[in-house]
Symmetry: C2
Subunit: 110 residues, 2 copies
DNA sequence: AATATTAATCGTAATATTGCAATGAACAAA
DNA sequence: TTTGTTCATTGCAATATTACGATTAATATT
């Protein structure tokens, strides 16, 4: 199939999976890390920074933008990218409730 | 292509992407949440709990096991599953260094 | 031994993802 | 106006993922 049966899961489970999915490719991780490292808006030198072709980078940026994790503002012929701070924090809260589940197991059969 | 060019990224970037990828499907999120909720070892009633066929669940469990996030111990005819605590904590550390990057942007051009 | 139970594996169909060449759109510079 | 620059979009090939029926493997039960 290749199609996740998202209708049988909760909204929260689907949300976690959607966020995780976008982090599930090293190019998108690298793009986000670069945006954090620069710590300001960057006007598209990501193609040089990361070793992928321009259409490929553009596609990854589109996915990040669609999830709201980055912003892209048109600036002449170039486009200015930066982290969407509010949305990043909101995403972090969702992911942390998942990652920080209570891990103290009572039984110990394994 | 469909094949990520992992060789051009750092080990850490690839590691983050690998962990994120496994969380990138709601069924695996649901499986993990259930293992946390039960807060003990569970002997395979996951097929009833989640609405997917047995081979599908088995496949998702395999991926979680391969990444070391869960343990599966044979117990007669059934198999006992639980969270691998040490590995979960290690994964959490990796993910948190990524999620908790400093978000204080100096410039504000966007 | 014959049968039942549980879960892994195999095989396969449907769909998604990744990557890039080619092209297009928008603007800047000459 | 022509040329260059920058980035998005289109189209396509290669590969990956998801899901499940059928089967198999291993152990229990009768």
């Amino acid at each position: 199939m290749g199609l996740a049966k998202s209708e049988i899961f909760t909204d929260k489970q689907n949300k976690i999976a959607l966020f995780a999915k976008v982090f599930g490719h090293p190019a998108r991780v690298a793009i986000l890390e670069h945006l954090f490292k620069i710590n300001a808006c960057i006007c598209g030198d990501l193609v040089n920074e990361i070793g992928l072709a321009q259409p490929t980078i553009s596609q990854h940026l589109k996915e990040l933008k669609q999830l709201g994790l980055i912003k892209g503002t048109i600036d002449g012929t170039s486009v200015c990218y930066c982290i969407n701070k509010e949305n990043w924090i909101a995403m972090k809260n969702v992911m942390n409730t998942f990652l920080n589940q209570d891990i103290t197991v009572k039984g110990d059969c394994c």
